[in-house]
């Protein structure tokens, strides 16, 4: 048998083997345990080493009452961004001052997005916006445990409608104080 035929036969045997073992096979029920290697935390008792937030910590809107005696206007973000615009920083400083001056007060920052993009990605982006504000307040010396973040993605627009006039009012972080 000549060399080319031998190569073709080997290739065909390889294809046959591959076909028999793997291509288009049903999902394996072999239990892929590679995902289980890594930093793992029990859902019931996790504590974050960096932020100190514990899993058992309840959301502030369940443990506190809404404080309507203080307020800060929403801050607004650029498209697809969680960078804090320079002109919005003053509001964040104002929020930090409220917490500094009212010992028992806590804060939930809500991140929101405009309607463009997938709902799931917008949940993550909204969370990044809330966390960016939170991190800035913490950098001003406020205890991280007094601030929680949450995201509604595009699910709770401030303004209904399509177009930049509505979108820019929906790309926001909102301050909700509790006491």
């Amino acid at each position: 048998m000549n060399k080319n035929a031998f190569r073709i036969m080997t290739a065909l045997l390889a294809v046959a083997t591959l076909a028999a073992t793997g291509c288009r096979s049903k999902p394996k029920n072999n239990g892929n345990d590679s995902y289980l290697e890594g930093d793992d935390v029990a859902i019931s008792d996790w504590v974050d080493g960096d932020t100190g937030l514990s899993l058992t910590e309840a959301p502030f809107d369940q443990t506190h009452s809404r404080a309507y005696d203080v307020a800060v206007d929403p801050i607004y973000f650029g498209y697809d961004s969680f960078q804090l615009p320079a002109e919005e920083i003053a509001k964040i400083q104002q929020a930090a001052e409220i917490l500094r001056g009212n010992a028992g007060y806590v804060l939930i920052i809500e991140g929101h997005c405009d309607e463009r993009g997938s709902n799931e990605y917008n949940l993550s982006l909204g969370e990044q916006r809330a966390l960016a504000v939170r991190n800035y307040i913490v950098s001003l010396g406020i205890d991280a445990q007094r601030i929680q973040s949450r995201s509604f993605g595009e699910e709770r627009p401030a303004v209904q409608g399509t177009g930049e006039a509505a979108w820019r009012l929906n790309r926001r972080g909102e301050f909700a104080f509790y006491k």
Partner: protein
């Protein structure tokens, strides 16, 4: 040609048939490859099927529709000698019972099929199961008729999880929630749906039985809990959790109730995980590069490779049974793109007009259900990656989004 050369050719032919047999060993009988994929459909005749009573007629109607929806067949009107013949009887008996005794014959084989059921819905599902059996035996592919689709109905500012049969029938609605829930995902056995709910005031992942009943929380850490996607073996749920201080990809082991972190991207957020058919890789969205793109992470090496190239936003991946990944890509409007890892190709499968989002593969690895917006409300459509025109899912008027296509159901 020399004598030596022709021995080699017949040896190669023999090996080719060994290879083909290995590929088709998992199918029940050999393919009927009457036409090249995409260039035509196998004709089916139901002329010899005796359907009696309302349920018999319903069975025949639904069977005809299912065979067409599969994409592989076209039912020829009353013509004997068509490539595939369905014969026998589908008879209504008593009040609401349907008895079937059917033979399916084609040039590659035959099989007998029969059942007795009670009720209209069960009569429809007899047809669904037979259509899928024909798809499996004749085309060697999974069928899509005996399946269900979960999705979200938006109602003003709120919404609810819904399920329907793959033909839009038997619409089932879960309780309304004041902020619309997101992203329902079936478990592989179809018994449970995981989804994101704001019922506690922030995004948490819940599980609820598809038969209805109480939801129970899977992940309700402070911060964000979303994107629940069940692994093919049903043991693990991929999810996006932000309790490390940033939305990251986790895998939750539902048996031990531990969440294992998969990504470390403090400057980027992850979203929308989905599993490869063999459970060894996860596709997901990350904006670590500055814009949201689709990546694939290998479970062993934990290394990620970027999959999407064009488009300013690439989101919402879904991984099909044959290994292709569908996702939503903003290229002007929002389009559904299919990435084929075997040749690296990226193919747009949605029509030119409208915004198309949230693709989910059917278990045949050929069809995709997605939502389409006309600017105000969304509707659900089935797209075909082999060129058949899109088919709107037959649902009442409403705003329907975020579809997830189940695997085959009993």
């Amino acid at each position: 040609m020399t004598f030596r050369h022709s021995i080699t050719r017949s040896t190669i032919a023999a090996l080719a048939s060994v290879a083909l047999a290995a590929v088709t060993a998992s199918a029940v009988t050999p393919f009927v490859v009457e036409k090249e994929a995409g260039s035509g459909k196998d004709p089916v005749s139901l002329a010899a099927l005796q359907a009696t009573g309302n349920l018999g007629a319903l069975f025949a109607t639904v069977l005809k529709q299912d065979l067409a929806n599969s994409g592989w067949f076209e039912v020829a009107g009353g013509r004997y000698g068509a490539g595939i013949e369905v014969s026998g009887m589908a008879a209504q008996q008593g009040g609401d019972s349907l008895a079937t005794r059917i033979r399916v014959r084609w040039n590659g084989g035959s099989f007998d099929w029969g059942d007795t059921t009670a009720g209209i819905r069960e009569a429809r599902w007899q047809a669904h199961r037979l259509s899928d059996e024909m798809t499996r035996r004749i085309k060697g592919r999974a069928g899509i008729a005996a399946t269900r689709i979960a999705f979200v109905e938006k109602e003003g500012r709120g919404g609810r999880i819904c399920i329907c049969d793959s033909d839009g029938y038997a619409l089932q609605k879960f309780p309304s929630e004041p902020v619309s829930p997101l992203s329902p995902a079936f478990t592989p056995d179809g018994s449970t749906i995981y989804y994101t709910s704001f019922i506690k005031g922030y995004a948490c992942i819940y599980g609820v039985a598809t038969s209805g009943g109480r939801r129970s929380p899977l992940a309700n850490f402070t911060g964000l809990n979303t994107g629940g996607a069940v692994s093919p073996d049903g043991r693990l749920v991929a999810a996006i959790l932000s309790h490390p201080g940033n939305p990251e990809l986790f895998v939750i082991n539902t048996a031990t109730r531990r969440a294992i972190r998969q990504t470390h991207t403090p400057r980027g957020a992850e979203a929308s995980p989905c599993w490869s058919p063999d459970g060894n890789r996860i596709a997901y969205v990350s904006d670590e590069s500055g814009t949201p793109q689709v990546y694939v992470m290998d479970s062993e090496s934990k290394r990620s490779t970027r999959v999407s190239s064009r488009g300013s936003q690439n989101v919402a991946p879904s991984w099909g049974e044959d290994g292709r990944i569908a996702y939503c890509s903003k290229q002007g409007n929002y389009k559904i793109v299919v990435y084929d890892p075997s040749d690296g190709s990226q193919t747009i499968v949605s029509p030119e007009t409208g915004d198309w989002e949230d693709p989910s593969w059917a278990p045949d690895g050929r069809h995709i259900v997605a939502s389409r917006s006309d600017g105000r409300t969304f509707s659900l459509w089935v797209l075909d990656t082999m060129g058949d025109p899109p088919v709107k899912l037959s649902l009442p008027v409403g705003d329907w989004r975020a579809p997830d296509w189940s695997k085959a159901m009993r």
